[in-house]
Amino acid sequence: MLYLLVSIPFIGALLVYPATERLRLPPSLVAGLMALSALVLLLFIGFPVYSGAVLLSRAEWIPQIGLSFSFRLDGLGLLFAELILGIGVLVVLYARYYLTELEAGPRFYAFLLLFMGAMLGLVLSENLLLMMVFWELTSLASFLLIGFRRHTSEARQGARLALFVTGGGGFALLAAVLIMGQIVGSYELSDVLASGRLVADHHLYPLVLVLFLIGVGTKSAQFPFHFWLPHAMAAPTPVSAYLHSATMVKAGIFLLGRFFPVLAGSELWFYMVSGMGLSTLLLGAYLALFQHDLKGLLAYSTISHLGLITLLFGLGTPLGEIAAIFHVINHAVFKASLFMAAGIIDHESGTRDMRKLNGLFKYMPHTAALAMVAAAAMAGVPLLNGFLSKEMFFGETLVLKWLVEAQWHWLFPMAATVAGIFAVAYSLRFIHDVFFNGEPVNLPKTPHEPPRWMKVPVEVLVVLCIGVGVFPNFTVRPLLESAAAAVLQQPLPEFSLSIWHGFNTPLVMSLVAMGGGAILYSGRKWLFRAHDRIPFQISGKQWAESLVESIFQLGEMVDRLLDSRSLRRYSFFLLAIVVAAGAVSLWGESFPAAKALTPVTIPVVIGGLLLGAGSIATAVWHGKRLLAVIMLSIVGLMTALLFAYFSAPDLAMTQLLVEIASVILVLLAMYFLPQLTPPESSRIRLARDITLGVIAGIGVAILSYSMLVQPLDSISSYYLSQSKPGGGGTNVVNVILVDFRGFDTLGEVTVLGIAAVGIVAMIGGLKIWGPEKDWLGRSWAGDRHPVLLTTVSKLILPFALIVSAYLFLRGHNYPGGGFIAGLVTGVALTLQYIASGSDRARQRLPWDNLKLVGAGILIATGTGLGSWVFGFPFLTTTFAYVTLPIVGKFEIASAMLFDLGVYLAVVGTVLLILAGMGGLHQREENV
């Protein structure tokens, strides 16, 4: 059931697109139904949790590293899941009216559902590593949502900043979780929670705690990581209402609650967590007052409230935890409704600037009433939910006097009261500045009430504010108790939820906060001027961006250090290092010749001399490009002949074909290269390079010689003996390729495909202006496609294909195979491109070469997977013999299908490269 629950939003995210496009359903309907069904399911299966049950379900994923698909529904998870799904439903409804037709496409709802699923997975994970997976997923999904309006630079920067900060925090958290898992010896939450004081007494505990708090602090926007949150306000308001009130920023808080029994209870925890919470609380409350943007005010007040919750967790008292969880609920409810109200105001008046927004009560009284109740809840006015949790908060700070050194005991209540004053002041500003305080100034639109259904989500939330505030014991107590029990992992202390506790110190603090807030607000004009006069504004955004910038610069510096952008210097260093390493490791070794040398024959001597002459000629004539290519092809041809001479026909054929293909490629590329010889390098450098080259060559020669004379008992004898009985073919090379080492081949073919995609990406939109004349100023021949060449090449094609098919079919037993056949076909088809021109050839060969490569890889993989169907391991082969006329007896092996995949991928890649390079000319001429 838990699996179903977690997968519903993900399924929804996948369904939104097809449902919108095929079935013409509004995407909001699909998303809303998905969220609603998940909520109903949660309420249904979550019922036993209220009485203390914990639902677990478990399935292995990668047991070797302790990663499993296990989910857990306990009180804390239930509370967060209800918030995520409940507010999620309301947000979907709200977004339906908030977003314009253009924006409210399936993309938005798919992202929203993706985020919902990630959050749900996070709060319901039983396995810590699985939880990290969802944690990162929330970062990514929120990146997509914050950057949803991708055409604005604000949204892009905000999204990037959020991803940078939360992603970095996720990294720290991952480290913390890994260490924690190592200490406990299990990544299952039940084991970790049951481990008691194990982690807290471990000597790595401070490290775990710091890393953990970095993760929590970045996600929940705690000082000093809070700065991303205001910039994330570039997101559409429904996203802010969802991410920045109820879900994303509460993820860190959730973890604080989750690991409270494991990590809390130490002095270090108290100082770090409550210190972080306290500074966030004060800073957020202070800055919130000075925002002129409606959403900016809400963003900083969110930071402040998150700090309050963190502070409560940091206190470490049982009642403090209850207050913290209570405030999580309350804050989610009133802040979501406030964001929605701010969105309505923005939507109907066209601005969020509080200096322009005034006196809106006249225009939208209903919305104003709702927003005022929610803002009052934020300020902590009695009869509303915010009052109750704030009262508990004040109460808890007072109890602290035993914990803190005696002379500091006043700090927490003082700070709490100051924060309360600011909270009242900014709430007042939200109410008074927007809805009263004179007339609106230069509004882009005349404000009016929004559509009926846009207000419904706000109404629901405001009713909850009042309901919780007036009848806390009926509405929220069961949920709160089960969640608090899950956090504390021990029986709950007595606590009372009521509006009137008698005239005590917390009430006095509340009253001071109310009065102080009102005074502070009335003096706001003076305060704003004072605030503007503060000369330095610390911008976390700039700081983070310059950090990113300097990371890039560092990378570039290292890159410049290592890569001189000169192929020559590059290969010099590479060779020099290889020579040095080889010399150091092999110095003083001796290689006794244990095997007799084969007798030297005249053909080998001639071949060897030609090889050497060809190589030297290539180097000497490198300035004359065409000549150098011809010399290089001598080297290639001689290599192929030597392969053939030493009984390696497969290699010889491959070498020959690759030689052809690469000569074509070089010639095509040469057209674009400068045709004059570049300046020669100095004699010293030349001497240096030659010396190094000779040393490296001698080294390789010595190494090969000593390798060849060693008595080597390699795996080849196994392949030779097993080729026929095991692989069903007598051509060992091919059997190794498609059978013994089929996985290697599959990988190589995939790499080939990736290279093909890379080439397409690189030369896809490329336009190179080839020279119009050659280096002597003569123009090119006018006849682009000589008739004789075109005609004969068409005639040859069928024969070439026959050869290719022949090589393919017999490949398993005689020299040949998919790779060689693919090269033959590729070269033959390339000839068509050369002879007839790209346009004509494309008409006659109308398939997409990239798809050909893809099809090849799919066929090869499919063949491998096919053996699973019959219960064998991946890539197991089977074979049978068939006799065809002319071709003779050959064998059908499942490996042949695999070979077909190789064949297609090779053909496609050859064509993509050669025809692509050739196509560059064509495009240039068509311009």
Binding site: Y671, E772, P786, L795, V803
Partner: protein, 116 residues
Amino acid sequence: MSMLIDLLIVFFLLLGSSFALIGSIGLVRLPDIFARLHGPTKATTLGVGSILLGSILYFSSRQGLSLQEILALLFLFMTAPVSAQLLSRAALHRRCDSIARLPEMDDGAEKKSGNS
């Protein structure tokens, strides 16, 4: 019988080698590019063709009918003239030195540069 076949094989091999040799000498010795083209494209093609005929006879008499060489012959005889023609066109285009007088070229077609 087999003696006769062997003699025939020897004949074809010798004939082929002679053609190839003569063609190669021609490639080195003849005065201009248009004349030199004849060496590799005509004489050497014939030479390789003869050697392939010998190969057909050799393998057919020892391992049963062998026809792959026919395919090779076909490729050879189709591609050699084409490359000869392309080479001579290129030489003509570049106005290479010639002992014979070269035909006049149509300059209008030359303006449309391009080479694929």
